[in-house]
């Protein structure tokens, strides 16, 4: 085997441009695979953290009549817990409403939350300092779509507990910025005490957000969904992204492997006199097979080395500086941080290296078998077609 490595190394180094073209393609594939996987891992980690920080905290206690995926359950999906049971829980009352920015109609979810809460990162504390009649918080995406800015007043219409329409101007007290789209798009946040007044649903909540000290209990009429359960959808989305990403990696890898395969198949024709000479000098079929397999595998090793040479500094810079996404990515409706900090783990790099080397070796084996079975007489004459 040492002989095969020795000769393969010399052959590849001696082949010049032909070798380096393959190596460059392989190094590019290596870097791209690691980059995209790192990006998705980074997005995954950041988004999970952001979702916990901004939305889910330690989990939700949901009213049994409320289904987050069914808007028709909002009207009746609320209730209240005795004060003694609400320790470590932050109530959120959700109602449907309509706003009329610049005379246009826009349906929104009106959410009430205690201004003094610290369970999630929503900047509700600032609502206390507002002198407006109905101060509200909206997210940056909502502000953009409704063309609202801080201090603007907008007419809002809602139904009270009896189903009677009521309307008033609300004041945009503050516009917050979050990567968690589900806390922003089409939502208006106001102090829950004010919403209770507006709707007559005193002490009622659609859901409670549990903080980290919350102990799971059975509450009649309420269902607790843990942080893990709430994040499952997002994890599924990431998994799906990874699977679809794998298709791209397979295509990239396929292109790179085709280059190696092509080079090795061409060797049958271009290097037949050389192969004939190896055999004439006493190389066994197995030695020839090993030599050409190792040559193919060595392309991937060189590709990894070159990829690491420019990839590792690039990965270090990217993981520190992050990748800032263009504004339009924020409108995609998924939790996408404005700046993603890719995570390049050792496991990711090791697995990519192994995948590249093993696949290159397997791809080289096919032409190498043919090369090893060449008729040396025909090879020496250069007559193999």
């Amino acid at each position: 085997m040492k002989l095969a490595f020795q000769i393969a190394y010399k052959n590849l180094i001696g082949s010049g441009l032909r070798t380096w073209l393959n190596v460059i393609v392989l190094s590019f594939v290596f870097v791209v695979i690691i980059f995209f996987n790192g990006l998705i891992d980074g997005w995954n980690q950041q988004s999970l953290q952001e979702s916990i920080k901004w939305e889910y905290a330690n989990g939700y206690l949901l009213n049994n009549d409320y289904d987050p995926n069914d808007a028709f359950t909002i009207a009746d999906g609320h209730g209240h817990l005795p004060d003694s049971d609400t320790k470590n829980l932050t109530p959120v009352l959700i109602r449907q409403a309509t706003i009329y920015p610049q005379g246009r109609l826009k349906s929104v979810l009106l959410k009430g939350i205690p201004a003094g809460q610290e369970t999630i990162a929503l900047p509700t504390a600032s609502l206390d300092s507002s002198h407006a009649n109905i101060p509200v918080l909206i997210g940056k995406r909502m502000a953009e779509t409704a063309k609202l800015k801080e201090g603007d007043q907008v007419l809002m219409r809602w139904r009270d507990k009896n189903g009677t329409f009521d309307a008033a101007d609300v004041t945009v007290h503050r516009i917050f910025d979050t990567s968690v789209a589900s806390m922003d798009n089409g939502q208006i946040w106001m102090p829950v005490e004010r919403l209770w007044e507006l709707t007559g649903l005193h002490g009622q909540a659609t859901l409670y957000i549990a903080d980290s000290d919350f102990q799971t209990e059975n509450f009649d009429g309420w269902n607790f969904e843990s942080q893990d359960e709430l994040l499952q959808d997002f994890r599924d989305l990431i998994e799906m992204k990874k699977v679809s990403g794998n298709f791209m990696y397979i295509i990239l890898l396929f292109i790179a492997l085709i280059a190696i395969f092509d080079t090795q198949v061409l060797s049958i024709f271009r290097r037949q006199k050389e192969i004939g000479t190896y055999v004439a000098m006493g190389m066994t079929r197995m030695q020839v097979l090993r030599l050409f397999t190792v040559e193919g595998a060595m392309y991937s090793v060189f590709g990894v080395v070159l990829g690491m040479a420019y990839g590792i500094p690039l990965f270090i810079v990217l993981s520190r500086m992050g990748i800032t996404l263009p504004e339009f990515y924020q409108d995609m409706g998924v939790n996408l941080p404005r700046t993603i900090y890719p995570v390049f783990g050792v496991e990711l790099i090791v697995l990519t290296v192994l995948a590249l080397i093993i696949s290159a070796t397997l791809v080289s084996l096919i032409p190498a078998r043919k090369i090893a079975r060449m008729d040396p007489v025909m090879a020496l004459k250069g007559k193999i077609q």
């Binding site: 010399k10 052959n11 050389e274 000479t277 055999v279 000098m281 006493g282 190389m283 066994t284 007489v377």
Partner: protein, 238 residues
């Protein structure tokens, strides 16, 4: 097979398929014995079977019928591994177009034969330099094949073949690509190696310049031996 005998061909026939179930018979019952230290040549026109015979002797090919015994081993009965071992240890090849490995230096080309024999690095260095000295190319050790002349290339090929001190050297039209001056130089080197190392040389050639150096000329015609005679090389050449 006597102890002096290097090879013995017994009624060797070689047929090649030419399609439609037909065969071309390249060798028609060749009987030949070559002893150690001979400096012999297979001569004859193109298509007479010289190279085919050389390939069989070199265990690159096997006879369709008959027996080819090289170094006491029947070529037809050898496995791929055994025939590779036979070539590796006992046979040196010199080709018409040199067949040097283009990415290697002169030194590395010659060294390659010893790498295949698992010779240690220090021993390899000593023997490669010795072989290059035999052919007068020690100064070109670091050159690549594309930086040397045709004559020098063939001398490298001789060094590569002789460095492992094989029992038999098979040279297929070794001077065909060389001018007269280089052809004579090559032949003189090979004759010297034959005398000093007692290595058997078997040429295939139709070059008059080569024939003048031969001590035995085996003439092939249409796949059969037409004449096998001992000759005295021209004194002036020595």
């Amino acid at each position: 097979m006597s102890t002096k005998q290097i090879l013995k061909l017994d009624n060797v026939v070689k047929k090649f398929p030419v399609g439609d179930g037909r065969y071309f018979t390249a060798l028609k019952g060749i009987n030949l014995e070559i002893d150690k230290g001979e400096f012999a040549g297979l001569v004859g026109p193109s298509g007479s079977g010289k190279t085919t015979l050389l390939n069989i002797i070199g265990s690159l090919d096997s006879p369709t019928e008959g027996k080819a015994i090289v170094m006491g081993q029947n070529i037809s009965e050898l496995t791929h591994k055994e025939s590779a071992k036979l070539r590796n240890i006992h046979i040196g090849f010199i080709f018409q177009v040199y067949n040097l490995l283009p990415v290697y230096t002169v030194f590395e080309n010659v060294e390659f034969a010893l790498i295949l024999q698992n010779v240690s690095a220090s021993e390899r260095k000593k023997r490669v330099m010795e072989a290059l000295e035999w052919v007068g190319l020690q100064d070109l050790a670091d050159k690549k094949p594309d930086k040397i002349s045709g004559g020098e290339g063939q001398r490298v090929a001789i060094a590569r073949a002789i460095v492992k001190k094989p029992d038999i050297m098979l040279a297929d039209e070794p001077t065909a690509n060389l001018d007269a001056k280089n052809a004579h130089q090559i032949m003189r080197i090979m004759k010297k190696l034959n005398e000093e190392l007692d290595t058997t040389f078997l040429f295939s050639t139709h070059d008059e310049k080569v024939m003048k150096y031969l001590e035995r000329i085996i003439t092939l015609k249409d796949g059969s031996i037409a004449e096998d005679k001992q000759v005295t090389p021209q004194k002036t050449l020595k």
